[in-house]
């Protein structure tokens, strides 16, 4: 056992998925919050009719359909891109989940917002937000936890009585804001998994197949299968949640905001992945 009570195979870098895989975008969200959007109650139907007709032209022909219409809010879905658009008297949100399919996200967000702004006579935007969730895939729950500890900015915190307890996993969230609190980033990491994820992976399965005495082909196939699983649909991994926002922007330019949010999130993510 190592210092953090992590099995030896991680300490020696035996976790093959940690070093090789890149993070995968799993969810992409845009949100605008506004004031005095009470005309939602009068104009919801008009807005849905306009968006149902117009959004396919912005979404490369993908079909949009109303999903739920109620006084508390309306929801539209685009199954082709797994997009969900919701709006009510206080906010508009566009959510792509899963974010596997490339789509004109910023065009759709901009168009939907401009439509809502026009129909509800929105004058004041309180907050614009962009949130992206990534996963750094691993093969097992143990790997995900080990990665969360490895990427944490501290090694021994807090101190505990005796020497039996050590860091097993980290669930961290930090807020970074400018002095006047008009712009910020929330950054969070945690180990996550699906129910079918194996708790751990036998060290023998990580060995290079050509070093095995027998069953090299089977071992190679297994490793390739695991790699494909990690790339296509990870069962476990490190969730990286980056949320960028601006409060009461002077110029409400959605395209510009989404562009700058891409850059800010990419920068934070890159610096995080390069660390430790």
């Amino acid at each position: 056992m190592g210092l953090w009570n992590i099995p030896t195979n991680y300490a020696v870098g035996g976790c093959d998925s940690m070093a090789k895989d890149k993070q995968k975008l799993i969810q992409d969200i845009f949100e605008a919050r506004y004031e005095h959007g009470y005309r939602y109650l009068d104009r919801c139907g008009d807005t849905l009719v306009v968006l149902e007709e117009a959004l396919p032209k912005v979404s490369r022909g993908a079909v949009w359909m109303p999903d739920e219409i109620a006084p508390k809010g309306a929801r539209m879905k685009c199954p082709e891109y797994e997009l969900t658009l919701v709006f009510d008297s206080a906010r508009l949100g566009l959510d792509q989940n899963p974010a596997d399919e490339p789509c004109p996200f910023s065009d759709i967000a901009d168009y939907a917002f401009q439509t809502v702004k026009s129909k509800f006579d929105i004058a004041d935007v309180i907050r614009l937000g962009r949130r992206k969730l990534f996963i750094r895939p691993t093969d097992s729950v143990d790997d995900a936890e080990a990665l969360s500890v490895k990427k944490a900015p501290f090694s021994q915190w807090p101190k505990v009585k005796g020497g039996q307890l050590a860091l097993r996993s980290c669930d961290i969230a930090v807020d970074l804001e400018d002095p006047d609190r008009t712009k910020g980033i929330r950054f969070a990491i945690s180990a996550v998994h699906r129910p079918e994820a194996p708790l751990g992976l036998d060290d023998r399965l990580r060995r290079p197949p050509h070093l095995l005495a027998q069953g090299q082909r089977e071992a190679l196939l297994e490793q390739l299968k695991r790699r494909r699983q990690r790339e296509a649909s990870p069962v476990a991994g490190l969730l990286i949640d980056v949320d960028y926002w601006v409060i009461r922007p002077d110029d409400v330019d959605i395209q510009q905001f989404l562009k700058s949010s891409e850059e800010e999130i990419a920068y934070v993510l890159e610096s995080f992945m390069e660390s430790s």
């Binding site: 969200i29 949100e31 596997d100 401009q114 006579d121 910020g184």
Partner: protein, 191 residues
């Protein structure tokens, strides 16, 4: 029960405490969390999970579909100016009203220059607006709202027929009519 599900970006109930961090989060649209987002915790805790079921069936993309570029829209600066005039419109001040109405009419005329490169639908809405501002000498709050909606729609690069129909309905409902001036004159007539 103590629950924590920061993936919902705010729906946190930790024995009555609310985390300021999660409140700041951009809200994830409820009901969209699907199979591709793994559970929040790697080990079983009392966290609220449930993001793991219903792996979505993805539809292949239409790789061959061309994304038609939108035609150049109307002059955005003029449209913004028109909305600004309407937002500060004061119908109680006679002089200011006259100035603002003249400015609006002038803006509409100028907009026709950039409308040449816009779509037929843009031109239809602009024609409706032009008809409206030429038919009145002042504006009510409801009329201002209808005109603002029209100008904001004109800023959209892509319009559909529904846009035009809605603006036409809105303007008619607010009393805009080419005969509005005549009806005012009729009040001074034999009736």
């Amino acid at each position: 029960m103590i629950t924590k599900d920061s993936m919902t970006g705010g729906a946190v109930d930790m024995a009555g405490f609310v985390s300021s961090l999660t409140e700041a989060g951009t809200n994830i649209v409820p009901g969209t969390t699907k199979g591709n987002v793994p559970g929040r915790k790697a080990r079983s805790t009392n966290a609220t999970l449930g993001a793991d079921e219903e792996a979505p069936q993805l539809v292949p993309s239409r790789a061959g579909t061309q994304y038609a570029s939108a035609p150049r829209g109307l002059d955005k600066a003029l449209l913004r100016r028109a909305v600004t005039i309407l937002e500060s419109f004061d119908s109680h001040d006679v002089v200011a009203t006259q100035l603002d109405m003249d400015a609006l009419r002038g803006l509409v005329v100028e907009l026709w220059e950039s409308a040449q490169s816009a779509t037929q639908l843009h031109q239809d809405i602009l024609a409706l607006i032009e008809e409206a501002v030429l038919s009145v000498t002042s504006l009510s709050q409801a009329q201002i709202l209808a005109l603002k909606e029209g100008f904001r729609d004109l800023a959209n690069p892509i319009l559909v027929q529904v846009h035009v129909d809605l603006i036409r309905d809105r303007l008619i409902a607010q009393g805009f009519s080419p005969l509005a001036l005549l009806s005012e004159l009729a009040d001074d007539g034999s009736n």
